[in-house]
């Protein structure tokens, strides 16, 4: 536990001693605002809800989360610090989790800094703050799921650009399998059971139900299991690749 915290501390500080952290947060906030106000005309809708704001997170994370996760292990492998890290008295599990949690917490900080929009909507109208709270939680879980995929894929290569592209593609896949057009196509070639199985893995449907205000255990569990799965895969990939 202590070692996870030590690694967490080192990692989270590293976001803020370089410009990466500030640049990321700036861009995240600008894009989140721009997408909500200009792309979706949030003001003109005159609805006191943040549904539009949260639905944009899917596409925002698709490109911004891989930008954080790409360096997690690719950089350690490239600079050789992975050898240093894994010969300290820490287990693989502690190293993977410490780094992941730091990246997740960083995303959490960026997300929390969108609070002015929450103040705005409360000032202008009378929104359901329960739904907004659930949506924030859902958005945070979604970021975690994307991050866990990115963390795993960043261990595949020592090249950060490749890690970035791989992650975007895989995350895009996990979004798309929830869309009707894709499911229609799959129904034509696969048995229904399999199609239902694939559809249930989509981030789109689980995130969608949370942001509509239905905070169900199974959606939360879905994200927790997804994160766990990818982090275990992460540890296996590091183990296989570290000799190279």
């Amino acid at each position: 536990m202590n070692q996870i915290l030590n690694i967490f501390k080192r990692e989270i500080v590293s976001y803020f001693v370089t410009p990466i952290g500030y640049v990321f947060i700036m861009i995240f906030l600008l894009l989140a605002g721009w997408m909500t106000f200009y792309q979706n005309n949030w003001f003109e809708q005159e609805i006191a809800s943040l549904l539009v704001f949260f639905s944009m997170h899917l596409y925002l994370y698709l490109f911004l989360v891989p930008a954080i996760s790409m360096r997690l292990w690719a950089e350690e492998r490239k600079s050789g610090t992975i050898e240093l890290l894994l010969t300290l008295p820490v287990t693989m599990f502690q190293a993977v989790l410490g780094k992941f949690l730091a990246a997740w917490a960083f995303c959490g900080i960026a997300l929390a800094l969108t609070f002015p929009i929450w103040i705005t909507v409360n000032y202008l109208g009378d929104p359901d703050n329960g739904v907004i709270f659930a949506s924030y939680l859902g958005s945070f879980l979604l970021a975690g799921a994307f991050l866990s995929i990115g963390s795993c894929l960043s261990a595949v290569t020592r090249n950060q650009v490749i890690a970035f592209i791989l992650t975007v593609v895989v995350c895009f896949g996990f979004l798309m399998i929830g869309r009707n057009e894709v499911l229609e196509f799959l129904r034509a070639i696969l048995p229904q059971v399999l199609v239902d199985g694939i559809a249930s893995l989509s981030f789109l449907s689980h995130y969608g139900s949370i942001t509509r205000g239905v905070l169900e255990l199974r959606d939360i569990l879905f994200f927790v299991l997804t994160i766990s799965f990818w982090l275990i895969a992460n540890a296996i990939v590091i183990d296989l690749k570290k000799a190279e």
């Binding site: 202590n2 070692q3 030590n6 690694i7 501390k9 080192r10 500080v13 590293s14 001693v17 370089t18 600079s79 050789g80 610090t81 050898e83 240093l84 894994l86 010969t87 300290l88 008295p89 820490v90 287990t91 570290k242 000799a243």
Partner: protein, 308 residues
């Protein structure tokens, strides 16, 4: 005590380390020699628990590296090849992170950090980020993090690579000073380093252990062991007298005829015989010395056998 038993490592069909077996007792500085790609770094990575062996066992201070890696890692200090470090951190932040991970606390922690900073003369750069430091300083930071928890076992992969001659000398001095109550394994391809700091040298090539002895004993395997170097004007003119002597294997003429290298048959000492000749003929010699033998020649001899 480090015990290594039938250690092998394969990467696909490539045999990187092939059935290595050796022990290192406390207080010994072991030099790990071999050509590039001989398996030195791979062996070190397995001892430190970074890579899992394909077969064989490693025990460090009684802990099995595979079944109890965390205990084994906690008694080891390791400088990986190239002395990697987190570029955005300063040496101070970096050492504090290592201290956290090594579980150092309170007064002891402060003292240890101060000690390694002093030992490696890096107080000047303690608040400069690693990526802005020179190669020499980065190497010192790497050494500092390996020494920080005062480990019983030190594994140093090319510790003096990239240092200038003064810094090399200091690091060697440091290793010799540390050696008393520790096990130190140093990999290098600088042979003078082995003679300067190691009590024992292991030569490996293509993953196989080829020689395991003291540096002196290895030197004695050289053709030049006990060879005599004689300098005088027109030394070459002595060839007809010296060459036929008993026990002389061959005589090399060096330095445009001003120097002779008299190489004996193995096990023969020519010292008395030659100095008697000098007395007898009143040769006007400028220099007379007995060679210890050349480690680089032994190294080539031993590792060359495998390559061909």
């Amino acid at each position: 005590m480090i015990e290594i038993n039938n250690l092998s490592k394969y990467f696909g069909s490539l045999v990187a380390v092939d059935q290595l077996t050796f022990d290192v007792p406390e207080g010994q500085v072991l030099g790990f020699l071999g050509p590039n790609g001989a398996g030195k770094s791979t062996t070190m990575k397995m001892i430190t628990g970074f890579l899992a062996p394909s077969s064989g066992q490693i025990r460090v201070a009684g802990f099995d590296v595979e079944s109890d890696p965390v205990s084994a890692k906690s008694v080891i200090g390791y400088l990986p090849e190239g002395a990697p470090g987190y570029g955005e951190m300063t040496p101070s932040q970096f050492l504090n992170f290592i201290a956290d991970a090594r579980g150092l606390t309170g007064d002891h922690r402060r003292k240890r950090i101060q000690t390694v900073v002093d030992q490696l003369h890096m107080s000047k750069v303690i608040h400069q980020s690693l990526e802005t430091l020179s190669k020499g300083f980065r190497r010192r930071v790497g050494l500092a993090q390996a020494l920080l928890h005062d480990p019983a076992v030190l594994i140093l992969d090319e510790p003096t690579d990239g240092l200038d001659p003064n810094q090399k000398h200091e690091v060697r001095q440091l290793i010799s000073d540390l050696a008393e109550d520790k096990i130190v394994i140093v990999s290098t391809h600088i042979l003078e380093e082995v003679e300067a700091v190691c009590d024992r040298a292991i030569i490996i090539a293509q993953g196989k252990l080829l020689a395991d002895d003291t540096p002196d004993a290895l030197c004695a395997k050289s053709h030049y062991h006990q060879a005599i170097r004689l300098s005088m004007p027109e030394a070459a003119s002595l060839l007809p007298i010296i060459e036929p002597l008993d026990g002389v294997s061959r005589v090399d003429v060096l330095d445009e005829g001003r120097q002779l290298m008299i190489v004996p048959h193995p096990g023969v000492a020519l010292y008395r015989q030659i100095s008697a000749l000098i007395e007898e003929h009143h040769w006007p010699i400028d220099g007379f010395s007995v060679e210890r033998g050349r480690l680089d020649e032994v190294f080539r001899q031993i590792t060359g056998e495998v390559a061909t």
